[in-house]
């Protein structure tokens, strides 16, 4: 197991290297540069700006010096907000987005696993259709619709919660978390239902039931373990996706998170910011995919055997 983890972490190095390299050259192919503006910049000023950000050097030279700085922990100043280092900007948005993503994932898991389990116990009955249909709402109401709709109902109609902000007013974290989590709740519900159905037909569940164990023990202790495997392998990408995909929710609710930086950087051609957020996100993706693989292995006894066997 430990060897497996170390191997995977070692494999992450070429992955990150490839991502940085491809991104570095890819973003420079997109039309328009970081300093293009409606009013054309005076050539002398443009030259000064390009010199300041090393853009006047040959591209390969820029690439090498970027890596040089990166190893020193310096991602360079953002092109759009040049008063800040990219790493400072990321760190300013990260805690907020991570908190948002965490709450959203919690919403998704609680609603999704619950609905999926209940549905799988009595497939093709009202007990199946009703929770699954409720979970479907998250998919039918995309974020850009669900957010304003919840604001309209709970913010203006019932006057229960603030309509925007994050940590400014009491209760303002509720609507963004639900909005972001709702879509994922439907995915979790479907994957859980599917996984549970597979497992509930397995022999060991029948054995457990035959032994006369209470049904909830059978579900929680035996069935959930195997039935959650598809959900768990979805969680890694899901959390990374929540981090990167929080853009719409952050914009709708005026949340100063990372998602806004990530998407805007692409439109601003903010090269250093694109690279910085990409490096950051790809690291997260690698880590979370690893975690969800480890979790899936731990939940699946057969795989566990195989890895410990391979490790020796």
């Amino acid at each position: 197991m430990i060897r497996f983890t170390i191997m995977r972490l070692l494999q992450a190095i070429p992955v990150l290297f490839t991502v940085i390299t491809v991104t570095f050259f890819l973003i420079r192919q997109a039309p328009g540069g970081p300093f293009d503006a409606e009013k054309p910049v005076i050539p002398a000023v443009k030259r000064a700006l390009e010199a300041k950000y090393n853009l006047d050097q040959p591209i390969f030279q820029q690439y090498l010096s970027y890596f040089g700085d990166l190893f020193k922990g310096d991602m360079g100043p953002s092109f759009k907000y040049p008063g800040w280092q990219v790493e400072d900007l990321i760190m300013s948005g990260l805690p907020i987005t991570a908190e948002l993503a965490f709450y959203a994932l919690l919403v998704a898991l609680v609603i999704g696993v619950l609905a999926g389990c209940v549905a799988a116990l009595k497939p093709n009955s009202p007990q199946d259709y009703i929770p699954m249909s409720l979970a479907m709402i998250g998919i039918c109401f995309p974020t850009f619709l669900l957010g304003p709709l919840l604001v309209l109902i709970f913010g203006f109609g019932l006057n229960l919660v603030p309509v925007s902000g994050w940590g400014d007013l009491p209760g303002d974290k509720i609507l963004p978390s639900i909005t972001l989590g709702a879509a994922y709740a439907a995915y979790v519900a479907r994957l859980t239902r599917g996984g549970m159905l597979e497992v509930l037909n397995q022999d060991y569940i029948r054995t457990a039931r035959a032994k006369g164990l209470p049904e909830w023990v059978v579900i929680c202790k035996h069935a959930l373990r195997g039935g959650l495997i598809p959900t768990v392998s979805f969680l890694g990408p899901a959390f990374a996706g929540l981090l990167a995909g929080s853009f719409v929710v952050e914009t709708i609710f005026q949340i100063p998170g990372l998602g806004r930086f990530y998407v805007q950087a692409a439109f601003n051609r903010d090269y250093t910011m694109i690279l910085g957020t990409t490096i950051f996100l790809s690291t997260l993706i690698v880590v979370f995919n690893l975690l969800s693989d480890l979790l899936a292995t731990w939940l699946n006894p057969r795989l566990r055997q195989q890895y410990s066997g391979g490790g020796s």
Binding site: L26, P148, L303
Partner: protein, 294 residues
């Protein structure tokens, strides 16, 4: 050497699996209902240019946005365009993007995930790390570049979306295959000396169809909304053409003043997604190989 034997197995298994599945699907009323709805929508989408009551682009600025009436069943939008017509045309785009992009994602994702999961070892590691790397690339830049290099073709947009969506599919399939490849029947097939492609096609893929179908039905709404997001950012469908996602995103902005602009496209999308899910669940249950043992 074991060729005749394998043909027999293939023939037996092949007919029974799909025939059984069809029988079981027919008994599942909800799934059948889903199938009818989806077929109906596809037929409407195909026939739209001939049956749409109005032109999707002709405007009547003096009319403006009006609530549903006899002349306009779904009402009209800001430009006085008939919403029913626009929902019908939007459905063509949304269904096409849903089907095409999901198929692309399905083909690439299943092939990639199956090979990685089944072969394992170094191949698996390399293939999955490629998936990790692709996950991390800045998606919007990628789309902008595609648009600039190839121009704004709708077909290309569909393919681009599919090319992005297969990554999760590959991970899920691989996870499933990892479990299956150690099952007794696969080991039995291997010990019988059957070739790897054969085992993959006849044993591994059919047995992981459940999660694949569930995830595929989840991918359809995802790609429809992704299309809306891209179009909203100006990287997708160009006006006056529209899609459900675009109609909804505009409807959401004006939902307080002209709610019908949100309700009708929203209903169209919801009905489609529900029908697809009933169908997907029905298919999953029908194709479940374990169920056939009972």
């Amino acid at each position: 050497m074991s060729e005749p034997q394998s043909i027999i197995i293939e023939a037996e298994k092949g007919t029974s699996l799909w025939a059984d599945a069809w029988v079981r699907l027919k008994n599942n009323k909800l799934a059948l209902f889903g199938l009818y709805v989806v077929s109906f929508l596809i037929v409407v989408a195909i026939l739209t240019p001939w049956i749409a009551p109005y032109s999707y682009e002709a405007q009547n600025l003096d009319l403006g946005a009006t609530p549903p009436s006899w002349a306009h069943w779904f009402g009209t939008d800001l430009f006085g365009r008939d919403l029913l017509t626009r929902v019908m045309y939007g459905g063509r785009i949304s269904l096409a993007v849903g089907i095409l992009a999901t198929s692309v994602a399905l083909v690439i994702g299943v092939a990639w995930g199956t090979v990685a999961g089944y072969v394992g070892g170094r191949t698996d590691a390399v293939m999955m790390r490629i998936v990790d790397a692709l996950y991390a690339l800045p998606f919007i830049i990628f789309i902008i570049l595609l648009m600039v290099v190839f121009g704004k073709s709708i077909l290309l947009l569909f393919l681009a979306i599919g090319a992005v969506e297969w990554l999760t599919m590959a991970r899920i399939v691989r996870g499933q295959v990892l479990t299956i490849r150690n099952q007794e029947y696969v080991e039995a097939a291997r010990s019988m000396g059957l070739s790897t492609p054969h085992i993959l096609r006849k044993h591994v893929v059919p047995n992981s169809l459940g999660p694949i179908i569930v995830y595929a039905t989840l991918t359809v709404p995802q790609v429809m909304l992704l299309e809306a997001f891209l179009s909203f950012l100006g990287l997708g469908i160009q006006p006056p053409m529209s899609s459900w996602g675009l109609l909804i995103s505009y409807g959401a902005e004006v939902m307080e003043d002209t709610p019908w602009l949100l309700i009708f496209p929203g209903l169209a999308l919801s009905i489609t997604l529900f029908a697809l899910n009933f169908l997907g669940d029905g298919l999953r249950d029908a194709l479940d190989p374990k169920a056939s043992k009972d």
